[in-house]
């Protein structure tokens, strides 16, 4: 195996044993980017060809293992634009807390940021100001989204590992489409300080990696209380790698029937059923359950997430940073800056969210959505009273074609039908590769657990991974 194909944990081990020079990892990565990036387009503002390669970087940077970062996480001095024109050339004066923690753990921040849907609004990475990323398994297909750049970079070995953000499935769905591991931690587990906010009650930063062990390591590094995020929770961070290798005999797994109904690709269904049978053969106990409010998750989400987004994105007005449209008066400056700076999906969501919060509609939409959110959370509370985890498909389909859903926003929203409830309930969930369609596209298995029980996710996911080979397959690029 070549260096850029390695998992981070094997590279870290070799570094400790002094059998590897980190510069060699950077050289391998840059060679791989040179070769694969013109087709994948996982990164933004990545000048091709990479003339000087990694040699142009400072020695102290290339002395460490790099992490690829989604374009909505603030990295001091490096462009952080949310793949939006309105944040054109924005270079944050500070690091997000997760970036500070990665640096404290001896890692380097990769100098190019990963592509994404503008402000994380989307499920395909087609809504990027910089153009779409392509799925490494079939470049005619989307990589999923919104963390599509992070997932495609990891899947194509243009990255060792990456951070994404997940508001309604934006880590797990692209991980599923690209055949890699993606985790959304419990709400409050990871500091959101420096994550450019989409929907503050739903957003979490999490890892996208080549295997479960890397996900456990990276989650441990970024987790923990942060006084700069008043919704981060002051609970000790366990060593997530301690559960790796444990047996899952006797673990109680709930299979919600609402996740196996119409609209689901029959091939995906078959693959998921085989994966569940595999968990059973490892000694897990499975039982069908019902999460009766599942069908309301998407409508609830598109009220709450857009309402919060409309408020969060009010700050982009052309005054302090980013793009400003020329205008004679202040009101026109705001209106034209936002008209020219935001793409169509951002405008759609801001207007929908503003509508849901506006006078005369607040009770009928926003307040009602918050109440149904309570019902969705109660569904999970009830199931977790009896079960250790819930297992579902990550997405009803494998990766769809570029352009296939681009003109129908509602169809695009429905592709997150299996991931959204997790954010509404605030629970953690992981997506791991569990098979391939006959077309050769990856399928992801989603595991959900109780709040702050990421260990359960790693334990079950690792047991599955130890007994399967899916995570070792590489796309032919």
């Amino acid at each position: 195996m070549e260096l850029h194909q390695s998992s981070a944990h094997s590279l870290i081990k070799e570094l400790k044993n002094h059998t590897l020079k980190p510069q060699a990892v950077w050289d391998a990565l840059y060679r791989r980017i040179q070769q694969a990036e013109p087709r994948v387009k996982a990164y933004v503002r990545c000048p091709m060809p990479l003339a000087d390669g990694a040699k142009s970087l400072a020695d102290e940077v290339t002395a460490k293992i790099p992490v690829t970062i989604k374009d909505n996480i603030c990295t001091a001095g490096l462009p952080t634009e949310c793949c939006s024109r309105i944040l054109e050339n924005f270079r944050p004066p500070y690091d997000a807390t997760v970036i500070r923690k990665l640096k404290e753990n001896g890692l380097a921040i990769f100098p190019f940021k990963a592509n994404m849907d503008e402000f994380a609004f989307g499920s395909s990475t087609e809504n990027s100001f910089f153009g779409p990323t392509r799925n490494p398994w079939d470049i005619a297909c989307v990589p999923g989204g919104s963390s599509g750049g992070s997932a495609a970079a990891v899947a194509s070995d243009e990255a060792i590992w990456a951070l994404g953000s997940d508001t309604g499935g934006s880590i797990r769905q692209p991980a599923s489409f690209c055949g890699v591991v993606g985790l959304k931690p419990t709400y409050g587990r990871v500091s959101r300080f420096g994550l450019i906010a989409f929907a503050s009650s739903l957003d979490q930063i999490g890892p996208i990696t080549k295997d479960v062990e890397d996900a456990a390591i990276l989650t441990g590094m970024i987790s923990g209380y942060d006084p700069l995020d008043s919704t981060s929770v002051n609970q000790p961070v366990p060593d997530y790698t301690a559960v790796l290798g444990q047996e899952i005999k006797g673990i109680k797994i709930a299979i919600p029937q609402e996740y196996f109904i119409s609209g689901m690709d029959p091939e995906v269904k078959e693959i998921i059923q085989v994966a569940i049978a595999q968990l059973k053969s490892l000694g897990a106990l499975t039982q069908q359950v019902t999460l009766p409010h599942t069908e309301y998750a998407v409508p609830v989400y598109y009220i709450i997430a857009t309402a919060e987004a409309s408020s969060n994105l009010a700050r982009f007005d052309g005054v302090q940073y980013g793009y400003r449209a020329p205008a004679d008066n202040l009101l026109q400056m705001y209106k034209l800056t936002r008209a020219q700076g935001f793409g169509p999906e951002a405008k759609r969501r801001i207007i929908l969210g503003t509508f849901a919060l506006s006078h005369g509609y607040y009770d009928a939409y926003y307040l009602r959505a918050l109440k149904v959110r309570t019902l969705i959370k109660q569904d999970f509370d009830r199931v977790f009273g009896e079960f250790d985890c819930v297992v579902t498909p990550t997405s009803p389909t494998s990766a769809f074609k570029i352009g296939e859903k681009a003109t129908d926003p509602l169809q695009m929203y429905l592709s997150d039908i299996y991931t959204i409830s997790v954010n509404l309930a605030g629970i953690p969930a992981i997506s791991i590769p569990c098979g391939f369609t006959r077309q050769g596209l990856p399928v992801g298995l989603q595991i959900m657990a109780k709040p702050f029980n990421e260990e359960m996710l790693f334990k079950v996911a690792h047991a599955f991974e130890r007994n399967t080979e899916w995570h070792k397959l590489k796309p032919k690029l």
Partner: protein
């Protein structure tokens, strides 16, 4: 619930987004379809249900009011589209 072009125009003004006629027309159609789908929520009786604005059992997080170090003015102004001295500048708002 239907949403007409006048409502969208009003909401777009509240959101400070200038819309062109064509965008307005397209959005009216799209938002109509999305809101129709969202109206599914009206099937549920939520009279007795408490709203969850977020899922953590914490509220009103306070900290000691101790002065800390702020970012230097010039650092903050580095990304400004227009500035003068220690200030952001915008088009004139007072006649």
């Amino acid at each position: 619930m239907s949403i007409d072009q006048d409502t969208i125009k009003h909401v777009a003004h509240l959101a400070r987004i200038e819309l062109e006629e064509q965008e307005l027309k397209r959005l009216a159609g799209e938002l109509y379809a999305i809101l129709n789908f969202i109206d599914k929520l009206k099937q549920l009786d939520v009279e007795q249900v408490k709203p969850s604005s977020h899922i953590l059992p914490i509220s009103n997080v306070l900290r000691e009011d101790n002065p800390g170090v702020s970012l230097p003015c010039q650092t903050v102004l580095e990304n400004a589209p227009a500035k003068k001295g220690n200030f952001f500048t915008v088009p004139k708002i007072i006649e």
